[in-house]
């Protein structure tokens, strides 16, 4: 089956996928109905997404990054990006921003065919990405939205200091919470927050279990192409809800069953028969040719056993859990610990740990043009992880949602070459152990 046929083939979906799709569709419906139902809408970002806090004010949550990626997957982002560029945005800047601005400029706001309301509040959770600060300045300019800044300091030295934590907590206490109270008309109830955080911790536990299932051989999941669906609820508008807890319980059950049967991950074309390569992937995926991109991997029997993109909205597999006993400190630590807020030495260590712990054949970096936060320094990360693990690294380039920067033939060729290199190294290793050529 070729790429075009694969894209046309109806995707086989598991119950958790259907549940997740319904949850996300439900959130878009809530957004579409928010004004008529008298609800207030807040926009924020995935890294540093304080979903539990926002729920305390009965705010409907909108995540422009998720809107942009959905537009990308629906093939609509090119037009929006070009609209934004016609209006004065540079071709050099983040395509998520342009896709969002272009969508607003066209008055559509319709990732799912339903109009999105103008946000009542922008929570500029300035976490792990400089562009966020400018993105919401641009949206503020467009809509005249009230904006509250939450500056999350960068972990420049690889640690969270008391000063950083205290700074974030103070901003929450003195700026963010009073602003959300005023906009929503709902008084802040810290016990309500604790309840949500209790739910979050349960969901995080199951999510980590699911991610770590990939340590098995064969891996029952693809931690990148499948992983981006798994993180939807927890990185989106659902962390802290019973629905999310239930979703992750369901997902874990499905993966447990797959493990019991020694089954590989589900792909759009069915279950992967043979795991031939185990890869760690660093960097966001391409959304505009997502299925075609995925097919390049599963056609080769390449399974992603760990990915860093699936930690962009929170890193849970190194012990962090939301803590209802220390709610605001916990929210601060969550923000400070998001993947793109980690310094490069920490990222190098994390990637090396993944390669070792998940017994990967190597590290593949998918470098996207739009995201300097991820991308600047990835070439050094590649060499650093190769040196630490002795495993080969590969490097491919495309973009998040700008289809002009996705060259399928180029990517496929590089991926195939990389996998051939892994094979060659296996052959040499086998010979060294006394095997035959």
């Amino acid at each position: 089956m070729n790429a075009a046929q694969a894209i046309e083939t109806p995707v086989r979906k598991e119950d958790s996928m259907l549940r997740q799709k319904a949850m996300i569709a439900g959130n878009f419906r809530d957004l579409a109905r928010a004004k008529e139902e008298g609800k207030k809408v807040v926009s924020t970002f995935v890294p540093g997404n304080l979903n539990e806090l926002l729920m305390c004010f009965d705010l409907v949550r909108n995540l422009p990054e998720i809107n942009a990626l959905r537009n990308g997957m629906r093939g609509e982002s090119r037009g929006y990006i070009m609209e934004a560029e016609r209006a004065g945005q540079s071709e050099d800047v983040c395509a998520y921003v342009k896709a969002d601005l272009g969508m607003m400029a066209e008055g559509k706001n319709v990732p799912t065919g339903q109009p999105l309301p103008t946000p009542d509040q922008l929570l500029n959770s300035y976490t792990g990405c400089f562009t966020f600060m400018k993105w919401f300045e641009l949206v503020r300019e467009q809509y005249g939205c009230e904006t509250v800044m939450l500056h999350v300091p960068y972990q420049g030295d690889g640690t969270i200091t008391e000063n950083m934590r205290g700074y974030v907590v103070k901003q929450l206490n003195e700026n963010v919470i009073p602003t959300l109270e005023r906009v929503s008309g709902v008084r802040f109830d810290i016990d309500r927050l604790r309840e949500y955080l209790r739910e979050s911790a349960k969901a995080e536990e199951d999510l980590v279990w699911v991610f770590e299932s990939a340590k098995n051989k064969p891996s029952p999941i693809d931690a990148y192409f499948g992983g981006v669906f798994y993180i939807g609820p927890i990185f989106g508008a659902f962390r802290g809800t019973p629905e999310a807890t239930e979703y992750y319980r369901l997902l874990r059950g499905e993966v447990e069953e797959r493990l019991r049967r020694a089954q590989g991950p589900v792909t759009p074309e069915g279950e992967l028969d043979e795991e031939r390569y185990r890869l760690v992937v660093e960097g966001p995926p391409n959304w505009t040719s997502f299925r075609e991109f995925w097919k390049m991997f599963y056609d080769e029997g390449a399974v992603v056993v760990a990915s860093t993109y699936c930690k962009v909205g929170g890193v849970y597999d190194f012990g962090f859990r939301h803590d209802p006993d220390n709610p605001l400190e916990s929210l601060a630590d969550y923000c400070l610990g998001c993947y793109t807020n980690l310094n490069l030495p920490t990222r190098a260590a994390m990637l090396s740990t993944y390669v070792e712990d998940y017994e990967a054949d190597g590290l593949l970096i998918n470098s996207v043009k739009s995201c300097n936060s991820f991308s600047a320094g990835q070439l050094l990360l590649l060499r650093e992880v190769e040196a630490r693990t002795g495993k080969p690294g590969g490097f491919i380039e495309n973009d998040l949602v700008d289809p002009r920067y996705f060259s399928a033939a180029n990517i496929k060729t590089r991926l195939e070459s990389y996998l051939q290199m892994i094979n060659q190294k296996r052959g040499r290793a086998s010979l060294a152990e006394g095997g035959t050529a």
Binding site: D92, P153, Y154, N163, N343, R347, A376
Partner: protein, 387 residues
């Protein structure tokens, strides 16, 4: 000294990518240290108070061939980190005992981590300035960061940094900022006497010279330039905006001037003017530096503007104060801060009927003719069609 002599000295310092001056300064006395910093702003007072020389690192410019540096970056990243790495891996920055990477964008942010990986053992600090400007929130955070920096440099230098050391440093940098403000005021008033291609070199000298020496040099240049007879031209007066990190080639500045523009304000090396007023000398110097940053500092794309209606007003004010007739947006290719900010600034200018034009450059841009044509056309459009 004459203008020619002063500028020749500044040019020599500018051209020296081996940082021979810094080497010489260190060798002149036992135990001296030098700390590099990247744009936009670090509190140089603290470095000076620790007995160390602050050295501004602005990439390698158009005279440095980048061979190794390109291997660290994809094609869509600006040039300043590539040439900075080139300076590092070629040993030119071995003279530095530490590097400070201020919060300006994700590229420079991540470069701090790359430096930690590549130059183990060197002091490296990511200097994260607050985007909250309330005294008891951003101010408290920032004060602690200043204290940490001071403690780090004490440890590195092996000597305490006392309140008097800091006060003296603050006084010296206040003088320097006054001198630079005077230079900018002089240029805005009589731009034919202080071409930006010269002013730029005077500022660049301040990236390596000790602060008191740079203050003297700046004063000498102003006096010499005032005294020199130079013809006034019918040039258009412009503000240059976007040049706060990766620097344009000197040839680009000259091309804009040759095209018929007087650059009467700009955002080169904002560190020289970031704090807008004298920092008080009484009281706790670190608290004073923190308060100055929060309440009396400049604006640029890397600094959050909490009030929507104030966005871009600093640029309107710069146009008004300098008597400019238009704005040239000159941003480095791939510069997220400058390029994302630009449309918002352009809208504000349009609302005030201030003409503007825009182009991109790289620190090693070599083809100046298109820049000259664009700047020249812009100047003509103002002179011919704005009356």
């Amino acid at each position: 000294m004459s203008v020619v002599e002063i500028i020749a000295r500044c040019q020599e310092l500018f051209d020296d990518l081996d940082f021979a001056y810094v080497r010489g300064w260190k060798e002149a006395a036992e135990g001296r240290k030098a700390i590099g910093y990247m744009p936009i702003y670090v509190p140089r007072e603290i470095i000076h108070a620790a007995g160390m020389l602050p050295v501004g690192i602005l990439g390698g410019g158009d005279q440095l061939e980048v061979i190794h540096g390109d291997a660290y970056y994809q094609s869509y990243i600006c040039r300043i980190p590539r040439s900075t790495i080139e300076l590092g891996v070629s040993g030119r920055l071995d003279v530095l005992d530490g590097m400070l990477f201020p919060s300006i964008c994700d590229v420079i942010r991540n470069l701090s981590g790359m430096w930690q990986l590549m130059f183990e053992g060197k002091y490296v600090r990511y200097f994260d300035v607050p985007q909250n400007f309330e005294d008891d929130i951003g101010g408290s955070y920032y004060l602690r960061e200043l204290q940490q920096l001071s403690q780090d440099l004490e440890k590195l230098g092996g000597r305490a940094v006392g309140g008097d050391d800091l006060r003296q440093a603050v006084a010296l940098y206040n003088e320097n900022r006054r001198a630079v403000r005077e230079l900018y005021e002089f240029r805005a008033k009589e731009p034919w006497k202080a071409p930006t291609s010269e002013v730029y070199l005077v500022l660049r000298a301040g990236m390596v010279l000790p602060v008191d020496e740079h203050t003297r040099l700046t004063g000498e240049y102003i006096a010499a330039a005032r005294a020199e007879e130079r013809p006034m031209r019918d040039n258009c007066r412009v503000v240059l905006c976007g040049t706060f990190c990766e620097q344009p080639p000197l040839g680009l500045i000259k091309s804009i001037e040759l095209a018929g523009c007087y650059i009467v304000d700009d955002d080169f090396m904002l560190i020289t003017r970031w704090l807008l007023d004298d920092v008080p000398l009484d009281g706790d110097p670190l608290e004073n530096l923190a308060a100055a940053f929060l309440h009396h500092s400049g604006e640029c794309a890397a600094k959050y503007q909490p009030e929507a209606k104030k966005k871009g007003q600093y640029l309107i004010e710069a146009v008004r104060q300098s008597g400019a007739e238009g704005v040239i947006f000159a941003a480095p290719s791939f510069c997220d801060p400058a390029l994302l900010d630009r449309p918002m600034l352009q809208h504000v200018l349009a609302a005030h009927d201030i003409p503007f034009t825009a182009f991109k450059y790289a620190e090693n841009s070599g083809q100046m003719q298109p820049i000259r044509e664009q700047a020249g056309t812009f100047a003509d459009s103002i002179k011919l069609w704005s009356a």
